[in-house]
Symmetry: C2
């Protein structure tokens, strides 16, 4: 007897072409709105007739709405299309001390945003966050909510939706707790969990500049150092979602102890905690000071603060050498409040990176497009990706099937 394990190969049906083109047009509208059907046809290369049919479908599906009418020197006026911004997304960005909750539309514009202290354990956090969400759903009753995105300072296995690794978030037994389930149950909306650095990477791709970036690495500098790797047009997630933990690569095997248990990790030298440590080592300030304060001091010209941040910038650059050698991204994006002082410290990082390029062009190094909301906006992108992104179509290689012969 012969049984077949029917994990099907990804074949195309007669509707596949429509699926693909629908996605192409939806994304073109998203990036170029307001845009007329005629322009869509020109830009996409599809026939005007095809564009009309597909946009009609998108309007029926309520993703797109007819917008204002344009004006041309001659001829019939075009009707512009734009995304239906009554479709909205709920997002939360969980950080060790503070959690931000927001409502965004499909364009990544925030309609409401508030902060709360991060609860001390995941159970309480789940209830508090869910409550906030429910409240926001009531106060924004005109909107249709598409999904919930939550970014955390840790790695998430996207198969099991379990949290794998959160060295900087001191929640007891978080890895055993299901954050997604309770919030979905309380709100009735599907929840996506994602690592903050990965979220930032998606933010750049979805809301950043127009040109297509093929290989990019985002580095989030906060209490820890995280990287989000975007390659071949997708996030590299790795086994159990653990890809991107360059922050825990040791730069010096004899260095200070890290929260991960290792020694001399990049994060130990390049995180905001490291900068505070540098500062405290060189001054006699009392210990209750946070990174915001340090930045403020530096912006005010405090020499010791500047020196601490300079040390941090060098450490960031040093760790980036590994990323550059290993992945050779086209672009490196630095996210986190540290990027506020880009003018001062960007060049430090840039020169360190340029020195590490073995041969060829150095990667662009730049701060996140909108550092203040990078993480939140990325979390919006996490949810949008489910609707606008590729339908998890296999990137070429077929998925194979095992035939068991009995």
């Amino acid at each position: 007897m012969r049984r077949i394990d029917f994990t099907n190969t990804q074949v195309a049906s007669s509707e596949t072409a429509r699926d693909i083109n629908r996605g192409v047009l939806l994304n073109l509208i998203r990036r170029r709105q307001p845009i007329s059907r005629a322009d869509l046809a020109r830009v996409s290369g599809l026939q005007r007739s095809t564009v009309s049919l597909i946009t009609e479908q998108l309007i029926r599906e309520k993703w797109v709405v007819n917008g204002p009418v344009g004006r041309l020197p001659r001829g019939r006026r075009p009707t512009f299309l734009r995304l239906n911004d009554r479709r909205a997304i709920l997002v939360a960005d969980v950080r060790p001390t503070q959690t931000t909750i927001a409502v965004a539309d499909v364009n990544g514009r925030f309609l409401s945003q508030e902060a709360m202290p991060t609860p001390g354990d995941p159970q309480t956090a789940a209830t508090h966050i869910a409550d906030k969400f429910k409240h926001l759903m009531q106060t924004h009753s005109g909107l249709v909510f598409q999904g919930i995105g939550i970014s955390i300072p840790g790695r998430v296995d996207q198969v099991t939706h379990r949290v794998m690794f959160t060295p900087n978030l001191k929640w007891p037994q978080f890895d055993l707790f299901d954050l997604k389930g309770p919030i979905e149950k309380a709100t009735g909306i599907s929840v996506q969990l994602e690592n903050a650095a990965n979220a930032c990477a998606l933010a750049e791709v979805w809301f950043g500049h127009m040109e297509k970036v093929h290989d990019m690495v985002v580095v989030t500098i906060a209490e820890g150092v995280g990287t989000g790797i975007f390659t071949n047009g997708q996030l590299a997630r790795g086994l159990n979602g653990m890809a991107g933990e360059f922050g825990h690569v040791p730069l010096d095997p004899n260095g200070p102890l890290c929260t991960c248990g290792g020694k001399g990790c990049w994060e130990v030298y390049a995180s905001t905690r490291a900068a505070l440590r540098y500062y405290h080592e060189s001054s006699a300030t009392p210990y209750d000071m946070n990174f915001q304060d340090l930045l403020a001091l530096a912006e005010g010209g405090d020499e010791l603060a500047l020196r601490a941040l300079d040390k941090m910038a060098h450490a960031i650059g040093k760790g980036l050498r590994i990323v550059v050698a290993g992945l050779a991204p086209e672009e490196i994006v630095i996210a986190g409040e540290f990027a506020r002082l880009w003018e001062r410290f960007g060049p430090v990082i840039e020169s360190e990176v340029a020195a590490s390029v073995l041969v060829g062009d150095p990667p662009r190094v730049r701060p996140a497009s909108d550092p203040g909301v990078a993480r939140l906006r990325g979390t919006v992108a996490v949810v949008l990706q489910k609707h606008f992104g590729p339908k998890d179509r296999d990137a070429g290689q077929d998925r194979f099937v095992s035939i068991q012969t009995h």
Copy 2:
């Protein structure tokens, strides 16, 4: 006036479905040959009628031929399909001291294989290799040659087809020399250049085990240490094709000088050269000895040789920590002659890797499927990929267009 830069978005036409399904079936036939049309339908999920039409097309295109007729307990006998193995590929594997030239069929089976010393400069190499190829084309006149693949110990920019970085191959001004052009001109066949580690990665994916691997890293241990990164179903090539140079990440910034100009690179500790150095440091053997000799000594039980290789294995494992933390591949494959002593040194690497996993499952670590021909067979895959692989369809994100308004 408005001009449009018509780098078109990738839209689907009415033929797209056929394109996709043709690829799926071609690859299914490749991996499961001999296979009947009925089985193809079952495995792929396509209708039998559709399978018949597409296989007819593949037979017309001469990719597939009708093979033997099967035998079943009941019913009409199935005609098995298999790849047309008269389609062949010419490959060369260039290494610092020796170059291997071979003819392979589309199944990666070698029909002929020979070695020659690697010439001292790229010009001579191009003529010699082209001559060998032309000769092989004559002696195998029954075959239809699909392409030429050449693997080199260096990185290749797949956009410009220029060689970027070959620290271990002492060819003068190789980066200014066009290896592809002259050989194409001499043979009339299109040439693909690829880094040896990338080639090995493709070999594993194309000719390795059946299960689909999503994230894999191949480490080639030879005169240098190279890595080939396979993520999201594709090779990660990076800017100028430079991705994968983990071999030049410094493990110790004060270590010995590397051929790349840096200090204390992984390669300095983990290459075959390193093992020879370790051996020579501990014995008084004359200096004209190569890695093959060292392996032979170790296989014969020489204590000093074993110790040198053990040190090398530890260094390999230590560098893999970076790869594991940064990419969390499902699988790490070790290629190169070193893998011959896997029984002895595999566990050393494995335990080092397992210790570096922050959380979750450790990656599988294993030697290359067929270490002796890994590089050559991978080079075959480089060429096959052009015919069997995805049609460089964008993995989701659309490619944008810039409209210049004058």
